[in-house]
């Protein structure tokens, strides 16, 4: 009957949610672990050696621990219902983008493109997406990169404390690129806009650090 068919649909959905809840928790744990380790940068950013080391560790953990869980989520996700369940993993995908972006900076000072991030996470981008399954949405990529900007603004001041002035210069150049890239976009009054406004503020803060150092 119609009611029992509906019941079946509802039960399936509950099952999907339960499975996604479990995998998402694993995702959260794996992501948290990388973030936790990357936090050490503020205490240890004394030498290039140390920062490169941390960047390597960060990248490795994402590849080894986070990417496989995203693959699992992709399998559990019913085809063409990405947005219905995206809230289960959005937050941690953003955090993974952040971890990759930060690690890449620590490794070689360079900027992680959306293709690069997607290749590390082993998921398609909005461009290369076929249909169904998980992919790297632009919004999540952008939000993660703003997080990188904010973290580097904090790092700049800690570099001064740790007397690592070379890194400050790299951060300055990185954040300028990032802010310039974002400044071409027209955000509506949404979350991204507010985040970007705070990024502009951070960018100015770093300019002040650079200026202070010159004095």
């Amino acid at each position: 009957s119609m009611a029992s068919q509906f019941q079946t649909d509802l039960d399936t959905e509950v099952d999907v949610r339960n499975e996604l809840r479990t995998v998402s928790r694993a995702l959260e744990k794996a992501t948290k672990r990388v973030l936790h380790i990357l936090q050490r940068i503020h205490l240890e950013a004394e030498s290039d050696e140390k920062t490169t080391k941390l960047g390597e560790t960060g990248m490795d953990l994402i590849i080894k621990d986070v990417a496989p869980i995203l693959a699992q989520i992709g399998e559990k996700l019913p085809p063409s219902e990405y947005y219905k369940y995206a809230d289960f993993f959005r937050f941690n995908v953003i955090k993974s983008v952040f971890a990759i972006g930060l690690s890449k900076f620590l490794l070689d000072g360079s900027f992680a493109t959306v293709q690069f991030v997607a290749s590390i996470l082993q998921i398609p981008t909005a461009e290369t997406r076929k249909s169904g399954g998980i992919f790297l949405e632009w919004e999540e990529y952008l939000e993660g990169m703003i997080d990188v900007g904010q973290e580097l603004a904090r790092l700049a001041k800690n570099c001064v404390i740790l007397d690592n002035y070379g890194l400050v210069a790299k951060i300055h150049s990185y954040i300028s690129t990032l802010t310039f890239g974002f400044s071409g976009m027209n955000f509506k009054n949404d979350g991204l806009r507010r985040r970007f406004d705070s990024l502009k503020y951070d960018s100015r803060a770093i300019e002040e650090v650079v200026y202070d150092l010159k004095m």
């Binding site: 009957s1 119609m2 009611a3 068919q5 509906f6 019941q7 649909d9 509802l10 509950v14 063409s80 219902e81 990405y82 947005y83 219905k84 493109t113 959306v114 909005a126 461009e127 632009w138 919004e139 990529y141 952008l142 310039f180 890239g181 974002f182 071409g184 976009m185 027209n186 509506k188």
Partner: protein
């Protein structure tokens, strides 16, 4: 910077699509409510059904309403837009069900309702032909070969506004509320007592069936408790009739 341009283009398209769908659904919801309003007058106004039917067909086949929504949704990721358009679909199928019940004294099936939300559109241009846009301009000069015209004109696309079973079930819930509102005033109109009994039988049966559904869906739970209130009001009306 090229990457950011792509992001900008992507987000702009996404937001415009969302705006377009938002406006369509607002209008559809409004018109659906108007149809329900018209249908409630069928006790006093003989042409109410005909009026409602005409309005409903317009609502379905106009680019300003459902056909427009179907076109806007073509090729889109449905799960992205679902939350936006689900409400207007429920509102409209409530109107469809109400009309169907007044005409046939029964409830349309899920398949019935889905069939209303399918459109077959003849394409004047053939999308698979890469030169189609070029030829488009020459459409009227008759210079195309017959075979080509034939493949071009017979190509057609099927558009739909996907209707989930949940929408259908939630639509039924709302529909019982309308039946209740229609049924209660019939207490004082002997001509319509058979209508009252039919509503009584149908709504009680629906409630008895739905009462077995185990849903975490908060919306469904709320609608069930509203339905329970409707059932009790209809029963009280039949009771009054009996006393």
């Amino acid at each position: 910077a090229e990457m950011f341009d792509k992001a900008k283009a992507y987000l702009d398209v996404k937001r415009n699509k969302d705006d377009e769908i938002f406006h369509l659904t607002k209008d559809i919801t409004y018109e659906s409510k108007r149809i329900i309003f018209v249908l409630h007058r069928f006790f006093i106004y003989d042409d109410a059904c005909r009026d409602a039917k005409r309005k409903l067909n317009m609502l379905l086949d106009s680019d300003r309403y459902f056909l427009g929504l179907a076109k806007a949704l073509e090729g889109e990721d449905m799960s992205l837009h679902y939350r936006r358009y689900t409400h207007c679909v429920q509102e409209c199928i409530e109107a469809m069900m109400f009309l169907h019940f007044i005409e046939h004294r029964k409830i349309p099936t899920y398949e019935d309702v889905k069939s209303f939300l399918v459109w077959v559109i003849k394409d004047e241009k053939c999308n698979t032909d890469p030169s189609a846009t070029e030829k488009d301009a020459n459409d009227d000069d008759g210079s195309d070969k017959p075979q080509e015209i034939s493949t071009t004109t017979t190509s057609s696309r099927t558009l739909t506004v996907p209707l989930s079973l949940t929408d259908y079930m939630l639509g039924i819930c709302d529909f019982t509320g309308e039946l209740m509102k229609a049924a209660i005033p019939t207490l004082t109109k002997p001509k319509w007592h058979s209508f009252l009994y039919q509503v009584f039988a149908l709504v009680r049966e629906i409630y008895a069936q739905f009462a077995g559904i185990c849903a975490e869906n908060r919306l469904f739970r709320n609608k069930m408790s509203v339905m329970r209130a409707s059932v009790i009001k209809i029963e009280a009306t039949v009771y009054r009739l009996k006393m």
